[in-house]
């Protein structure tokens, strides 16, 4: 983890700026050919990277506000701090790395791209996450998740490692994967049945799952440090929807 300016980066200070001004400056920097924008003094500025396309990189120092990377289509955002709510809302492509914790509604309706969170996240992470053709939403949460994790999940991969939890703290809250009808969830600890939605079944990982998990744990370790083997030593469980059509038989006419 570095907090010094990176080579070739345009450096901007968010101090005294409202989000609209800051985001316009970021766009101008990329339009002007910058490959990377480094933001300092970010204190709750919303919509960083919102609707941004291309392959640029944004490095955030501080605490970015809600809806960071919303509708984003390609860029990478690295946050040296905690993220707030609705990160990567409806994101299409791109990568978000949070060197801290994140708030509620992480990756809501996200269709593609990757999110790595070092610590824990709030409620409703991965809600209605999707996949489509070559796109697949992929989320790795290092710590624990709040209630409603992966509710309505329609596709993609949600991994919660469960590292660094308080004694007795569950890996995920209640209503986990309720209404899930697509995609896969891997949890780094067992979870009680009562925390799960009726629409999913719990099973052990197979070889393909373990290979996939390893690839993402390697990404996690590359971003945040630690040892891959230590993490993979945990007991992982897999959640899959029991039906692709949880609500298929409720109508008459």
């Amino acid at each position: 983890m570095t907090t010094t300016a990176q080579a070739g980066c345009v450096t901007l200070s968010a101090r005294g700026k409202v989000y609209r001004e800051l985001n316009e400056e970021i766009r101008r920097a990329f339009d002007g050919g910058a490959a990377c924008v480094e933001l300092h003094d970010v204190i709750g500025h919303r919509y960083i990277g919102c609707g941004l396309s291309g392959s640029g990189r944004i490095v955030v120092h501080g605490t970015p506000g809600n809806d960071m990377a919303a509708f984003m289509d390609g860029p990478e955002i690295v946050v040296h701090g905690n993220g707030q709510d609705a990160i990567a809302n409806t994101m299409n492509r791109g990568r978000v790395v949070i060197h801290g914790e994140a708030g509620d509604v992480l990756g809501h309706s996200m269709r593609g791209g990757t999110i790595l969170v070092r610590g824990s996240v709030g409620y409703r992470a991965g809600i209605h996450m999707k996949s489509f053709r070559d796109k697949r939403a992929e989320v790795v949460i290092g710590g624990a998740a709040g209630d409603y994790l992966g509710e309505y999940m329609a596709g993609g991969l949600m991994i919660v490692l469960g590292l660094g939890r308080l004694p007795g703290q569950p890996i995920s809250g209640i209503y986990t994967a309720t209404g899930m009808h697509g995609g896969k969830m891997i949890l780094g600890d067992d979870i009680e049945e009562y925390r799960l939605g009726r629409e999913v079944g719990k099973s052990d990982l197979d070889t393909a799952d373990r290979d996939e998990l390893q690839r993402f744990v390697e990404q996690y370790v590359a971003a945040f440090g630690g040892r891959v083997e230590d993490i993979l030593n945990r007991h992982f469980v897999k959640l899959l929807p029991v039906s692709r059509r949880p609500y298929g038989r409720i109508y008459v006419y």
């Binding site: 609707g51 289509d73 309706s109 269709r111 409703r124 809600i127 209605h128 697509g182």
Partner: protein, 505 residues
Amino acid sequence: MRKWLVEPDFLVERDLDRCINCQVCVRQCANDVHYYDEEGELVASDSEHCVGCHRCATLCPTKAISIQEAPLQFRPNGNWTAERIRAVYKQAEGGGILLTAMGNDRPLPVLWDSLLLNASQVTNPSIDPLREPMELVTFLGRKPDRVKVSAAADGHVRLETQLGPQLRLQTPIMFSAMSYGSISYNASLSLARAAREAGTFANSGEGGLHRDFRPYADNMIVQVASGRFGVDVDYLNLAAAVEIKIGQGAKPGIGGHLPAEKVDAEISATRMIPERTDALSPAPHHDIYSIEDLRQLIFALKEATRYGKPVGVKISAVHNVAAIASGCVRAGADFVSIDGVRGGTGAAPTVIRDHVGIPIELALAAVDSRLREEGIRNQASIVAAGSFRSSGDVIKAIALGADAVYIGTAALVAMGCHLCQRCYTGKCNWGIATQDPTLTKRLNPDVGTRRLTNLLRGWSLEIKEMLGGMGINAIESLRGNREHLRGVGLGDRELNILGIKAAGE
């Protein structure tokens, strides 16, 4: 398979003197009502599956077919009508939610029919729209609190105030949100083309924007709903405006569900979900649990589109609609669309369609009054929806305070819909609410486009006639001008909410 106790809704009768056994009806009916009896070498019918769409009767070359409501099957009962008894039978049979389509068909009072318009006599002359200019152009979007103008040396007046993005409508009528998936490719294409030809807007609905409709995006409003289907940054930036769909008049408060069997290759590509998977729209947006959250999404969309286009919010007309609309405006909506209890749908639980929400007339008047009282009416345009059957309904809505209206059912009817209310079966014999290629080809998009533009032209001409009759030469002058409305047969309470006088006052 014949359901226990459930009798047919309709009786199909064939005049054997007229029938020439040409089998047009056999080919036209997707519900398999008509069949060719090889043994008797005759076309015959089984009323069992008739939905009353009249496709066969309309196309029968010898007019041999007539469709009647099934004659009395139950002892007459003002409370337990045949329809209610049948509904109980169906649910006892299948044990599920009773599904229906199109708008509320209960005989709810239609207040448009209790409102009457004014006209000039003697004291202020009426205007003849055939000879004098009559302005229907309407701008949707946020208007400033005050405008600053300056006069140049050459006498030209310049607007100094910078206006926010606006939609320019040639006539104050737009096509309501109908997703590709709920209606066919040809029906969607007809709406998009007609919107462009008429200088107005069609609405993509919540199912994304098919690549073939993208050339019409300048005349399209795109929706962002709870399922976020087909929403990406291109979709947002191509469109003329973005509408956050919170509610729909036919099903306030509940989500939606496009069944997997309808998600074919094209619909999958448009919604950006895998083929043959269910498209579930959750009841709420899970990033909107408050007005503050709504503001957050409105501004996320403005940021994503660089403040270049209006962002609106569509809500159902429910009890506290005025306060909710006020919240939407304060949250930054540039237009608020309000869909009344008679608004249509491709599929909704019957009990919700028929019993939830309030009529658009009262909702519209309440919202317009509330925004005026709060001094924020200029901050957003109001689009009224929820069953406009004629230009008379439209002009009354504008006098009550709407900037423009959305028409859905009327547009479908223009394309041939006979209101059989079976859109959800996917077997629309008129080729509108179906994805079956043998059915969709029945609607020629050139014909669909022409019929829709004809409808808009006819209604616009009628609106000009009515405006001229009132001595008004611009629709702007009628907007919220309730002096031009009078009520008949309404109580004080309704008159008060509508903000109008009784006829004779």
